[in-house]
């Protein structure tokens, strides 16, 4: 398929460009936190995109992201941090351990038909609690004393700590996004969308619902766990309270819902916006206002743009790109603060633009060019 080949080429190009960033950073003498900012963004993009493979695609609402993340973190913390395995040998197991836990959960909840929406959500939340308890009880895992990752050596070829984190998270993010895209463009994806819309009808038309839900849950757990495995390094001192907190599941839900759960790009856009805002609030010393701000922003956004802002942005992509470029250019000229702040202003600009309701936007657009009929056709459709 032509469009698929083009998209995969796009992924490859994006990967190569992003791979060059650490070299560039070194040569141009960028502040170190640029890399940290970027690989933390990669972390959130991966977490929310993997969550979306299950919840966005199949409609089964999951609070389980913290569980997959936590399993991943503790897998490398135990194997590399305590048992002295080499980190790169332990890392794949972080993904596979989470995959196994995910499939076990799937065997239980998807076999019992009665486990509908709310019960499924609560069950996934409970899994994180159970795993946290297990980690706290067994000294081989944590035992309540935490686990150190600070002395784990990283292979030479990955470079210093920051570039190494950057490269590993980049690879995992690209794998996750390519998977999310391929599912989106395949029978598996469409089967899942059918399940999301009406599971019974989907079964009647021949969708093997159990297998498909297991696949979605498995992919979600695997990538969430794999990224968790790398993230243990960034945490440094791993504790149960921190790892299994509600933070990860809550943020991935907010990010994906903001960006839009119906398209694979939605979580990417949502993660970038929310992570950047939170990061800048923290760096400006407003940690305490973060939750209030994020909370109210979300209520506003979810009410104003139900389908998520990605689809809006795509419909208005010319305006989006121009606005983004304009704000970046303006902030380069008028202020000298860091690149990340400029990025924030640009994202906020896009956010405000996406908030303009469709009707008002059409009025604005009408004045520019008199072809109102095409706005509807921008929607993703199955046409040849």
């Amino acid at each position: 398929m032509k469009s698929r080949r083009r998209a995969l080429t796009g992924f490859a190009v994006a990967f190569l460009i992003l791979l060059a960033v650490p070299h560039l950073a070194e040569r141009m003498d960028w502040p170190g936190f640029y890399l940290t900012f970027m690989f933390t963004a990669f972390f959130w993009i991966t977490q929310s995109s993997s969550w979306n493979m299950l919840t966005g695609y199949s409609g089964y609402f999951s609070f389980g992201q913290g569980a997959w993340f936590g399993v991943g973190v503790y897998t490398t913390a135990v194997l590399a941090g305590k048992q002295g395995w080499s980190f790169l040998a332990a890392l794949p197991l972080a993904g596979f351990t989470a995959l196994i836990v995910g499939l076990l959960l799937g065997l239980v909840v998807f076999r019992l038909r009665s486990l509908g929406g709310e019960i499924f959500a609560l069950t996934t939340l409970a899994v994180a609690f159970v795993l946290a308890a297990i980690a706290r009880i067994f000294a081989a895992i944590d035992g309540g004393r935490g686990a150190f990752m600070t002395s784990v050596p990283l292979p030479e070829f990955l470079g210093e700590f920051r570039p190494a984190m950057y490269r590993m998270t980049l690879v995992i993010m690209m794998l996750t996004l390519v998977t999310a895209y391929l599912i989106y463009e395949s029978r598996l994806g469409w089967g899942l969308f059918a399940i999301r819309d009406d599971e019974q009808v989907a079964r009647g038309l021949g969708v093997p619902t159990f297998r498909y839900k297991m696949a979605a849950l498995g992919a979600n757990a695997f990538f969430g766990g794999l990224m968790g495995g790398v993230w243990a390094l960034q945490i440094g001192f791993v504790t149960v309270e921190d790892v299994f907190s509600i933070r990860v599941p809550l943020f991935v839900i907010l990010m994906s819902v903001l960006g839009g759960t119906r398209h694979w790009m939605g979580p990417v856009v949502g993660s970038l916006i929310i992570f950047t805002i939170v990061d800048r609030f923290n760096s400006a010393g407003f940690e305490n206002f973060n939750q209030v701000f994020i909370g109210s922003l979300l209520i506003l956004l979810v009410l104003a743009v139900r389908e998520g802002i990605y689809l809006r942005i795509r419909e208005r992509w010319v305006a989006t790109a121009s606005l983004f470029g304009l704000i970046i250019a303006a902030s380069v000229i008028f202020n000298s603060s860091s690149m990340v702040w400029k990025f924030l202003w640009a994202l906020l600009g896009i956010l405000l633009m996406a908030l303009i309701p469709d009707r008002a936007w059409q009025k604005l657009a009408l004045r520019r060019r008199p072809t109102p009929s095409e706005s509807r056709e921008d929607r993703e459709t199955v046409d040849a």
């Binding site: 398929m1 469409w190 819309d197 009647g204 038309l205 021949g206 969708v207 459709t381 199955v382």
Partner: protein, 241 residues
Amino acid sequence: MSLLECQGVRKSFGGVRALSDVMMSIEEGEIVGLVGPNGSGKSTLINVLSGFFPADSGRVDFVGVDLLGQEAHEIAAHGIARTFQIPRPFATMTARENVAVSYMFGREKHSLAQARVAADEWLDFTGLASIAESNVDQLNLQQLKFLELARALATEPQLILLDEVLAGLNPAEIEGSVEMIRKIHDRGITIVIVEHVMRVVMSLSHRIVVLDQGRVIADGQPDTVMNDEAVISAYLGGKRI
């Protein structure tokens, strides 16, 4: 050999027996009307045949395969499709996407690329080509019912179970739907139709099966069946049509 054969099919919900010892066979190429008063088990039988409810006991043979205990998606793969009385389209998809999904699964597995082409054929066949791009919330009832048909047809079934496709339609729309059912039958697809509009069932069906309280009480030519004493008293309450 019959296309479909039910023997002693039983289904209870709690203490209520919805189907008791249903015996019925469907020959290839037939249009069979399945009628009976409310609560007689018509919809339950459709649900059992399409795998939505598991039967408690009995046998359902479809071209030599026992369907009982098989999952709905496996039954679809054997070549049985159904429609719903109240249309249940995939709400976040366009009409074309609805049909494409169905073609991807169904009796044979197809890729997304193939489905994009095939969906248009079925939309054409059901006269929905002009609304292929529309979201389903923009369609009227008849279009939704035809979309149900297009979706069922896209699974490439041998047997199609139509659950009250005419309910809620006006006389003109009913005429159009009857034409459509004939067109589907002309393609060599066997049809079981559950329907309340007796005039239509009588004219469409080659054979009529009457259910009452979960039991088959009559089975035969439309005219003979509708003059049957048991049918008149059970189904028509003593009144003739």
